[in-house]
């Protein structure tokens, strides 16, 4: 996704990470601060600098808000319309290329 974001011009595509680690035993124990620290370390290790949100209820939050109960990408257009759910990176690129 980094390549697509850089290739299509800065400011055209933003990425927001939604972490569901609180759904899991290892990510849900020790308090949210510990999970945030683990998330930050993982993102730093993989050189990812997108903003990250730790969802307090994990997948229950993605379900309640977006009706999404799994990993994946959701693309929202510049006017706030949903362009794709569970969309693949090449499909994102194609939409951006055509806009």
């Amino acid at each position: 996704m980094k390549g697509i974001q850089e290739g299509r011009g800065k400011g055209k595509l933003e990425v927001l990470l939604l972490s569901v680690d609180r759904s899991y035993r290892y990510g849900g124990t020790g308090g949210a601060d510990k999970t945030v620290a683990m998330n930050d370390a993982k993102l730093k290790e993989t050189n990812v600098h997108w903003p990250n949100v730790l969802l307090p209820q994990g997948f229950d939050d993605t379900l309640k808000l977006f009706n999404i109960d799994g990993y994946g990408l959701t693309l929202i257009g510049p006017d706030g319309t949903v362009c794709g759910v569970n969309i693949k990176p090449d499909e994102v690129d194609a939409i951006l290329a055509g806009s």
């Binding site: 933003e14 927001l16 309640k64 109960d69 959701t74």
Partner: protein, 223 residues
């Protein structure tokens, strides 16, 4: 020393459970926990006597459910034996269909045969414990996989949210109540529900923060 013995005992117990699960899966054409085959469930369902339609209150609506040829690929079910997951093989589910006029739009949705679970336990996530209602958001007449909602939480029909109050055990009607929760659900071609989050570095972000740009929401975890 004691810790090592405990660890070893735990490993042996886990291995035994995995082997036990393997024997069950090899030995049975259907996984454990399914007391009745789908055929028997179908016959039982056909013989059920419909219960009388309830009188809806002003904020409620009764939708008649009718037989349909649409089927739904069964959703995989995972139960746990201690720390060992037991995967139950999904089966195709027969459905009944309801049509509800919401504003100027008629929205179709699909309900499986009962029994129904309409409230999720406080100990389990929504996904694990309530009946799946499939809303035909794209209007193609099929129960597609990305169109599932859980009856234990408000479901989106068109541009309104509803709560499932009750369903006839014989699947002839469903009672829905208009919900006061904000519009939810990311549906292709529809406006994304508004959101407001605090990022892990303390910044506030909301849908309007990204106006004029494409936004990619990436659901992830450290696994």
């Amino acid at each position: 020393m004691t810790t090592n013995i405990r660890r070893r005992a735990y490993s042996i117990a886990s291995l035994a459970l995995i082997l036990f699960q393997g024997v069950i899966n090899v030995g049975c054409s259907k996984p454990p926990g399914k007391a009745m085959s789908s055929e028997i469930q179908d016959i039982a369902h056909e013989r059920m006597t419909p219960t009388a339609e309830p009188q809806p209150k002003s904020n409620e609506v009764v939708v008649k459910l009718s037989p349909t040829s649409a089927i739904r690929t069964g959703r995989p079910h995972v139960s746990w034996a201690g720390n060992v997951p037991i995967y139950e093989e999904p089966e195709a589910e027969k459905l009944v269909r309801g049509d509800l006029k919401v504003g100027s739009q008629t929205v179709s949705f699909f309900v499986p045969f009962g029994p129904y679970i309409l409230r999720h336990s406080s100990h389990a996530s929504i996904a694990k414990s309530s009946t799946i209602i499939t809303v035909d958001q794209n209007g193609n007449g099929a129960a597609d996989k990305g169109e599932d909602w859980y009856a234990g939480a408000p479901i989106r029909l068109g541009d309104a949210m509803f709560e499932v109050q009750s369903i006839d055990p014989a699947s002839t009607w469903i009672l829905l109540r208009k919900s006061t929760v904000p519009l939810a659900g990311a549906i292709v071609g529809k406006k994304c529900p508004d959101f407001s989050f605090t990022t892990t570095d303390g910044k506030q972000v909301q849908l309007s923060s990204y106006k004029g740009k494409y936004l990619l929401l990436d659901v992830w975890s450290m696994t």
